[in-house]
Amino acid sequence: MSTHTERLREQKRQDTDRLMNWLSRFSVHFTLLCFGLFCLVPLLLIISASFTDEIALTRDGYRLIPSEFSTEAYDLIFRNPTVIVRAYAVTLLTTTVGTLIALTFMSMLAYVLSRPDFVLRKPLSFFVFFTMLFNGGVVPYYILMTQYLHVQDTFFALMLPYFVVAFYVLILRTYFAALPSELIDAARVDGAGELRIFVSIALPLAKPALATIGLFTALNYWNDWTTSLYFIRDPHLYPLQYLLYIIQSNSQAMQLQSAVGNITVGEVPTQTARMAMAVLATGPAALFFLFFQRYLIRGVTLGAFK
């Protein structure tokens, strides 16, 4: 009799446990689901708006399902696709070439900084670290780029600013420093020179770190528009993000202009055209992200172990 009650009680406790378990899991999932929706819905709205008829968009507002389906915005853009294609070319070029050069520079710098027998290790480390804390500000940056380096309106200006990012150098240095020094000694005994040790021993071992920093750098290049804002006037050199920024800010400036009143404005791109531009510019980038997502996640956790 008593065992039966106990069993019942046991059963009940298990049930409540299971319920609590289910509830907590449900609440976590529900929160995450809501969060996911918050991220996803704006994207869907943009896609839907870009496929909506211009007038219907004004009349009915933004909807998840287009109230009147229309591809006019895309027709408009693809009537003259060179602008967006060129912007893609510029962005792809800066991203690939820039990342490769940046990785070369940063890994070399980080490697020498990680070697305890390097004479200038301390002053050089300080030099790198110092730039993380203090920088000259925008105007000196502008003066350096335009009046000393004369790189304004060149492809190079788009890549130069991210060749060496102090923080990434420090991450790489930490990784290099963790490599056993016996390896390097062994290589030297086998007759390898410094360059050989770096290329054949240090670099292959640091691949995970390089992949991570490479991805970060690539994302920097992909998302960068401020560099172009400062240094690029030639429309042939507009990268994708800057093109988007220009389209948005131009329509804002034009509205400001018409608010001034006694002057007339040019054509403001329609709402749907702007949305279609946004879709075309972010769409492939989003796919790119899905493809590289696992590297990114691994990269984010890289700093966690050492």
């Binding site: 690939t96 070439v97 804002l229 131009n250």
Partner: protein, 508 residues
């Protein structure tokens, strides 16, 4: 192991991509720096202005340079920067003392007064009469006053419509349907508009597409509509246009403001405007979609109806209510300044002379080359059309469409038959406009910056509800006045009055 392989693949694909990038880099070498070579050894003037860079700019620039080389012995480089980025870029250029010669400046973009205060612009009053005599003579001394800051003129003024004769616009089809064309043409005040609004409301209720008479009632309160010259945006500080003693008033304390607010409240309660406050941008789109029939207050100017129709697709009729008033803000809306570190300021002034008094040069700058970008549709009427059968000027490769930015718009050729004759009319309007008692005065708010910020905040919070008619007028105005006073509007007013008095005694 699996991980290692994918990493290797990752790096390898990066390598392949980079190699491909390197190869195409060679092919894309024309992407690299545009060479800035001069046509001769003549000095080259660099002109910075906002606008979308035009594909054919090089060709136009060469033609302009050749024209200038013969006349003033200089060449020009046109450097357009996109609208949204112009302020940032010119800010950097100025701050880093990068050299240029000419730049578009105004109180609303590339701020003229900031430029003057920072000494980025060169005083021109000594050079203008001598080196740009026609340009100098084309504007009255009174008008030049508007560009004067602290005794000096730092920019050339582009002639365009200086006055702001605000008034209502109504869709012609709706006006005809309600049969009140004569009453509309005879309007002299906003009270008289009430009968027309009521008739349109009845029409709207029967119509399927129209949803409201108008979207935004707020512009009725535009200071000029009630005979005031506004002195500082979002501050409510005004000077009555007929008051030669130039007393600074707080607009919301005047009878006219109350009158306007009561009108708005009545019209709002009668359902002439939607109850949720719409943004201006949405208003434009809604107009395009044919949802409303009246714009209560916009600038009514010669050729304005055709312009509105071209932009928003409905034929309109308009009537000015505000008296044309020559104000500092209206005149200084479009200026071209010369950099204080320009190597050739005299040549730059001579350039201003060309741009403002030579129609051939000016139209080349605004419209491009004859036969390439435009051709005559009717030379006697100065009417042009896109060259070689292009559908619009925008398709010809050169159409900045900002004539008012480059010089005297009254010299520009008409691009649309409906605009023909608008310039002499507009010039007439400018000439006959009454000068504001404070024309030429600009307020320097540096000593009351905190107050200006808090007054602007109070204004935003309490004036907008009055402008849309959603609050009771007495209560709304009391709240607004109290908030403005709490925010320190009286201190700004006193400071402004002191500056105006000093300015007046210095000028008399």
């Amino acid at each position: 192991m699996k991980k290692g392989i994918s990493r290797r693949n990752f790096l390898r694909s990066m390598g392949i991509a980079a190699a491909a990038g390197g190869v195409s880099l060679g092919g894309l070498s024309r992407l690299s720096r545009l060479s800035a070579q001069g046509s001769a050894d003549l000095p080259r003037l660099v002109y910075l202005f906002p606008g979308a860079p035009q594909p054919d700019v090089q060709r136009v620039q060469d033609a302009l340079s050749a024209y200038m080389a013969e006349r003033i012995g200089a060449t020009i480089e046109l450097r357009a920067t996109d609208w949204g980025t112009f302020d940032t870029q010119i800010g950097l250029i100025n701050a880093s003392a990068e050299s240029y010669d000419l730049a578009f400046t105004a109180p609303w973009i590339n701020n003229y007064y900031t430029n003057v205060n920072q000494e980025y612009l060169m005083p021109l009053e000594d050079m203008l009469p001598e080196l740009a005599p026609n340009f100098w003579a084309s504007l009255t001394p009174q008008t030049w006053e508007a560009a004067r800051v602290g005794g000096s003129i730092y920019a050339g003024i582009n002639q365009q419509i200086f006055v702001k004769p605000f008034g209502p616009y109504i869709r012609t089809d709706v006006l005809e349907a309600v049969g009140l064309g004569d009453a509309f043409a005879a309007l002299t005040s906003y009270e008289e508009l009430e009968a027309i609004m009521a008739a349109v409301k009845e029409y709207v209720d029967q119509d399927e597409t129209l949803t409201h008479v108008t979207y935004n009632l707020g512009p009725i309160l535009t200071e000029e509509n009630w005979g005031f010259d506004p002195q500082l945006p979002n501050s409510m500080l005004v000077v009555r246009s007929t008051d030669d003693s130039a007393q600074v008033l707080i607009y919301s304390q005047t009878d006219e403001y109350r009158q306007g607010a009561e009108l708005i409240r009545r019209w709002y309660q009668a359902g002439y405007a939607p109850s949720d406050i719409q943004l201006w941008t949405q208003m434009d789109d809604a107009w395009l979609a044919g949802q409303f029939a009246v714009r209560v207050s916009d600038i009514v100017k010669p050729g304005g109806n055709a312009e509105v129709q071209a932009r928003w697709g409905w034929a309109v009729t308009s009537k000015a209510i505000a008296e044309p008033l020559l104000t500092t803000g209206g005149v200084s809306a479009t200026l071209n300044g010369i950099s204080s570190i320009s190597a050739n300021p005299e040549l730059a002034v001579q350039y201003l002379e060309l741009a403002n008094s030579d129609p051939v040069f000016y139209n080349m700058l605004c419209k491009g080359l004859e036969g390439v970008h435009w051709e005559w549709a009717d030379e006697d009427q100065l009417l042009i059309r896109p060259a070689n059968g292009a559908a619009s000027f925008g398709d010809t490769g050169y159409a900045p469409s900002t004539d008012w930015m480059f010089g005297n718009v009254f010299n520009s050729y008409y691009g649309d038959a409906s605009q023909v004759g608008a310039w002499p009319e507009t010039a007439e309007l400018n000439r006959n406009a009454r000068p504001s008692p404070v024309l030429g005065f600009t307020f320097d708010g540096s000593s009351v910056q905190t107050e200006i910020a808090s007054v602007a905040a109070a204004y935003q919070e309490f004036a907008n509800p009055l402008g849309s008619g959603v609050v009771d007028v007495d209560e709304g105005i009391n709240n607004l006045n109290q908030a403005l006073i709490d925010a320190g509007v009286e201190r700004i007013r006193d400071e402004m009055q002191a500056q105006i008095d000093a300015w007046k005694s210095a000028n008399s």
